[in-house]
């Protein structure tokens, strides 16, 4: 009998009410109603395809066939198009790429989305349609042309949210307070006759009022249900919902319960825009409400945990962080940090939490975090090295007063909540492309030294980055008109006062461009093998290598094996790891010297969330990889190439200077048996992570799961025991059975340490 996961007694018992909510949540997820799709493999690799349709339509009548990323969508698919699709203002009265035209559509969508409240819920809010399903999303021909050029050179991307608002603004002011500031600012810019700013602020007003009406709709519906309900207990719940929604539709939350409900609506309405933001430090947001209610005796810890667990069961795709330091550099962990972890511990269900560890963190909290992570084995939470991500922000030029507030916000990325448009996670550079061009140049130029090849690679990478820069600048020029992030902007610092959307030039203080880099380990392995076999041993010529790769090593098996069996990144071998580090330094150097048209620099992530699985788009590589085999995931070694044990791999990964990048996670799959005979399972996770962080590592995603069993789950996805297996796929978590087959295959092909 193999163990799927480490099974221990649950620490918290679900109440009957919570059990019902969990059952509903699971059934929605496993029936595919929470699936998030990407259009195709090209989109997966470049985050941009010829159609220019950067956001894939997700729902409707099932006609959309894309690759399922898993149950990562915030929305609930009910298998039908938005009923008032023909009545959408931009369709009926004319589409204009401007913020007001956008906001009117947004208001229409909210006004025509129903309020839904299910039995047993105290935290409410669910939606079915996103903006991208009702409104044209089109950057136009100029951008598309530049996108094509960029892709030819190995780059792509679309600015698609992936930043982080600061909900402490709304939690303090309420939607009514935000609206008041919008109106004041609107009056100012109207008086000063700034038409563009006035137009943005009118759009902000339309959007904010729509959100307030939407929340009020829930209040009115709950009131209706109260009157209809015969069971007094359920009627009391409806009444509680009605009162809370009434209050928070205008005012800031008065208590903890209202604060959680406020967050639920804030995330939902932000997600209706159709993107993937992170949402900041959850423990920091909620602590004052929690403390005050506990002191008043109006809230128990159990209730606090339940409300949060309800929110986690309802939301999908959201990232929150915990811990870190405060602006004085002190530990920011508080009692709420525990309650958040407990809520996950209790429901054992998908959610994307990140704990920002640092050496001064409350040791009891970190031990509990590692205990939860180890017992559940689903990569929740991600462990993040706070000091490194803060330093990365400092290095980009963010002053310490803001850099200290950094929050882990997505798969591997981080952001200054409400002050930074980091444009993260949906831009990509495929590093294979510049390498290939460098090899072509080396062949035609008859290079005799490896250094000549490396110089050509550096040149070609610059050309790729330059193509991306031109493409992105063209997007940035029209983004705040074409697809503004008005809802996110409502909870940002300075947007309303400046009359600028977060995506507009200088809408917020920091507007870096961040790009994922796909295939660094493959380029390191390839260049190392070439260095050794072509330039040093002269066993093959570079043109032979180029030709062999071009035909996917066909009839070159002996040669392929030679390239495959050279030292590989991920084994703590300085021979090849030093080349990996050199490549990361080259990337960082080029990024440090590339600025967007906001005058802010480019930054790279040693990460790409699923592009490595779309190997057919990429083709074979000189590291001996066949076209059909996945590339390396992010900064992790290519599956099957790390053979010296987890610590050796961790050392390789930690060799890059992570302060120069916007994240790069060590992805680990461990067998449950790895922990056999250990008295204190969590201590391994804790000690390992601390040592990794001390070595300069930035993030750990840890699954403790038997991949053999998952292989069976691929063949028998109908078996009940396989329905609810949750894994950290790359930077996000999902139920295994809801992933498309290609992603499943890649997952089970990973190194499952601990076979010794």
């Amino acid at each position: 009998m193999r163990k799927l996961k480490i099974n221990t007694e649950p620490k918290f018992v679900l109440s009957e009410r919570m059990k019902h909510l969990q059952e509903r949540s699971i059934s929605l997820a496993v029936s595919g109603k929470r699936n998030l799709y990407t259009a195709n493999e090209t989109q997966l690799v470049y985050h941009w395809s010829d159609a220019g349709q950067a956001i894939a339509p997700q729902s409707g009548d099932g006609k959309f066939q894309g690759l399922s990323l898993g149950d990562h969508a915030c929305r609930v698919d009910i298998g039908m198009d938005f009923p008032a699709l023909d009545e959408v203002p931009s369709k009926k009265y004319g589409y204009r790429p401007d913020a007001e035209n956008w906001a009117v559509d947004f208001a229409f969508l909210l006004d025509n989305s129903p309020a839904e409240i299910y039995p047993n819920e105290t935290i409410v809010g669910e939606f079915h349609w996103e903006m991208n399903e009702i409104r044209k999303y089109d950057f136009g021909d100029t951008v598309k042309e530049l996108g094509k050029k960029a892709r030819e050179l190995g780059a792509g991307g679309n600015s698609h949210g992936h930043t982080c608002p600061d909900f402490s603004i709304g939690l303090t002011e309420g939607w009514g307070g935000i609206l008041k500031r919008i109106e004041e600012s609107l009056a100012l810019y109207t008086r000063l006759k700034h038409t563009a700013k006035s137009a943005f602020l009118r759009s902000a007003k339309i959007s904010c009022e729509a959100i307030m009406r939407y929340i009020d709709k829930y209040s009115r519906y709950a009131k209706e249900l109260t009157l209809r309900e015969t069971d007094p207990a359920q009627a009391a719940i409806y009444e509680k919902i009605a009162n809370a929604c009434k209050h928070i539709s205008v005012s800031p939350p008065a208590n903890y319960y209202e604060a959680v409900q406020w967050l639920q609506f804030a995330v939902m309405t932000d997600r209706i825009v159709g993107h993937g933001n992170g949402y900041g430090r959850l423990d920091k947001y909620l602590i004052r409400f929690y403390k005050s209610d506990i002191a008043d005796g109006t809230l128990t810890r159990d209730e606090a945990r339940d409300y949060l667990a309800e929110m986690f069961l309802k939301l999908r795709g959201e990232f929150f962080s915990l811990g870190g330091r405060d602006s004085n550099g002190n530990d920011a962990t508080n009692e709420m940090s525990y309650v958040v972890m407990e809520a996950y511990d209790m429901i054992d269900d998908y959610n994307n939490l990140g704990v920002m560890w640092h050496s001064d963190m409350d040791p009891k909290f970190y031990s509990y975090v590692c205990d939860v992570l180890t017992r559940h084995g689903a990569g929740i939470p991600s462990l993040v090295n706070y000091d490194i991500i803060r330093d990365a922000e400092l290095r980009s030029g963010v002053p310490i007063c803001d850099a200290a507030d950094v929050a882990y916000s997505g798969c591997q990325w981080f952001c200054i909540p409400g002050k930074e448009y980091c444009d993260q996670d949906t831009n990509a550079i495929v590093l294979i492309a510049p390498m290939r061009r460098a090899i072509d140049r080396a062949v035609s130029g008859e290079y005799t030294e490896f250094e000549q090849l490396y110089a050509a690679f550096t040149d070609e990478l610059k050309a790729t980055v330059e193509a991306l820069r031109i493409f992105k600048d063209a997007q940035y020029n029209i983004l705040c008109d074409m697809w503004p992030e008005i809802v996110t902007s409502l909870n940002c610092h300075g947007t309303i006062e400046r009359g600028l959307d977060i995506t507009a030039h200088r809408g917020v203080d920091y507007q870096f461009t961040s790009t994922n880099i796909l295939g660094i380990p493959n380029v390191a392995d390839s260049l190392y093998a070439i260095k050794k076999l072509v330039f040093e041993e002269k066993k093959y010529t570079l043109s032979e290598v180029r030709d062999a790769v071009k035909i996917n090593w066909k009839e070159r098996e002996r040669m392929r094996q030679d390239f495959l069996c050279q030292d590989k990144y991920g084994n703590d071998l300085d021979t090849v790891d030093s080349l990996y580090v050199r490549i990361t330094e080259t990337i960082a150097y080029i990024m440090d010297h590339t600025y967007n048209n906001r005058g802010q620099q480019y930054r790279a992530s040693l990460f790409q969330f699923q592009g490595h699985t779309a190997s057919n788009v990429i083709g074979a590589t000189p590291d001996g990889r066949l076209a059909s085999e996945p590339l390396a995931h992010g900064c992790n070694p290519t599956a099957g190439r790390n053979k010296n044990g987890l610590v050796a791999t961790a050392n390789s990964v930690a060799k890059a200077d992570n302060r120069k990048f916007l994240g790069g996670s060590l992805q680990i799959e461990l067998q449950p048996e790895f922990f056999d005979g250990k008295d204190d399972l969590a201590s391994y996770t804790e000690q390992f992570s601390k040592a990794f962080f001390a070595n300069g590592g930035v993030q750990i995603n840890l699954n403790i799961i038997d991949l053999e069993i998952l292989r069976d789950a691929m063949e028998h996805p109908e078996k009940s025991e396989y329905q609810n297996i949750i894994v950290k796929v790359t930077g996000y978590t999902s139920r295994f059975v809801t992933l498309c087959r290609g992603f499943q295959e890649e997952f089970v092909g990973r190194e499952n340490y601990g076979k010794m």
Partner: protein, 312 residues
């Protein structure tokens, strides 16, 4: 000083406390029928054949001076016993189909590698474990390595079957923080039948180890017993070992681990071209495991740990 090392696995949790690197040394003083590392038994430098990696190019057969590799109708045929370990084939093989089982490394080579992981050892009270094979079958190498590890402040563990001279064993004890002592079978005849040697020397060394730990309380003694169906899993055997631990090892054993048999080594036997009697032996069933844990607990005062896969 160099030795034959067949693997260094970094970040293990099974071979002693904390996070560890395990250095596997080639050559063993026993030849257990169920051995999980059959490639480690022979003291000599040898090659083995991995069919999964082989692309059947035939270069190995062309160059082999001893006739151990031949090309027949069924592709490559490798005869482990004919192989003289000259490594001619591994030099021409590009795919790793033919590979040297072990590498000759100096103690400094090993030290350089494991020192990179000192962060992990220090934070977890882990360190380096010498395993095998039987590490003490290369006594000079093992003792020098242990001594160098100690000099560098690295905690050491030694995974041993204790079939070595008392002199070597005692020297090793001085340099070993945690002794992982294998006690497989208490019946000496059975021991001889299934492992190739009787257990007198093992028991003598075990007693010495207990005495040593009593005198040097910073040193620790762990006992491990492989639970092999039909060989070591009998009530008599576990009770006898328990009594020995209790009475003769004088309460100095900190924990006793019962390691459940698994068939993971099948592919290794295939690569060696050796028939393995345990190829079809099923995993220990869960009732047996629970019963053995109960027996072990009732008859000793040390902590009992069970590891490995069981079947329902």
């Amino acid at each position: 000083m160099d030795g034959l090392v067949f693997d260094i696995y970094r970040g293990t949790t099974h071979d002693g406390p904390g996070i560890r690197d395990t250095v596997f040394l080639k050559g063993c003083s026993l030849k257990c029928a169920w051995c999980q590392n059959p490639e480690s038994i022979d003291k000599a430098e040898k090659v083995w054949y991995n069919k999964n990696k082989c692309i059947e190019c035939g270069m190995c057969a062309d160059i082999c001076p001893s006739g151990a590799v031949t090309v027949g109708e069924n592709g490559i045929h490798f005869d482990y016993n004919t192989c003289i370990g000259c490594n001619a084939c591994t030099k021409v093989c590009t795919s790793g189909g033919m590979s040297a089982i072990a590498k000759r490394l100096t103690t400094d080579d090993v030290l350089c590698r494991v020192l990179k992981d000192k962060h992990y050892f220090d934070i977890s009270d882990g360190g380096v474990t010498l395993s095998g094979g039987e590490p003490l079958i290369q006594p000079e190498f093992s003792l020098e390595l242990l001594s160098k590890l100690k000099t560098h402040g690295i905690s050491t563990a030694l995974d041993t079957c204790a079939v070595v001279s008392e002199k070597v064993f005692l020297s090793a004890l001085e340099l070993t923080d945690v002794l992982l002592l294998d006690l497989k079978l208490f019946d000496s005849k059975e021991h001889k039948r299934l492992t190739g040697a009787d257990n007198r020397q093992i028991l003598t060394n075990a007693r010495s180890a207990a005495l040593f730990v009593r005198k040097n309380p910073t040193h620790r003694l762990w006992v491990r017993t492989p639970i092999i169906p039909g060989a070591t899993d009998s009530e008599d055997n576990i009770t006898a070992i328990a009594e020995f631990i209790h009475t003769e090892l004088i309460g100095e054993v900190e924990r006793w681990e019962l390691c459940m048999f698994n068939r993971a080594a099948s592919s290794k036997y295939e690569a060696l071209g050796v028939e393995w009697n345990y190829r079809h032996t099923p995993s220990v069933n869960i009732e047996t495991r629970e019963y053995l844990i109960k027996l072990a607990s009732e008859n000793t005062s040390c902590k009992i740990i069970a590891s490995g896969v069981v079947q329902k």
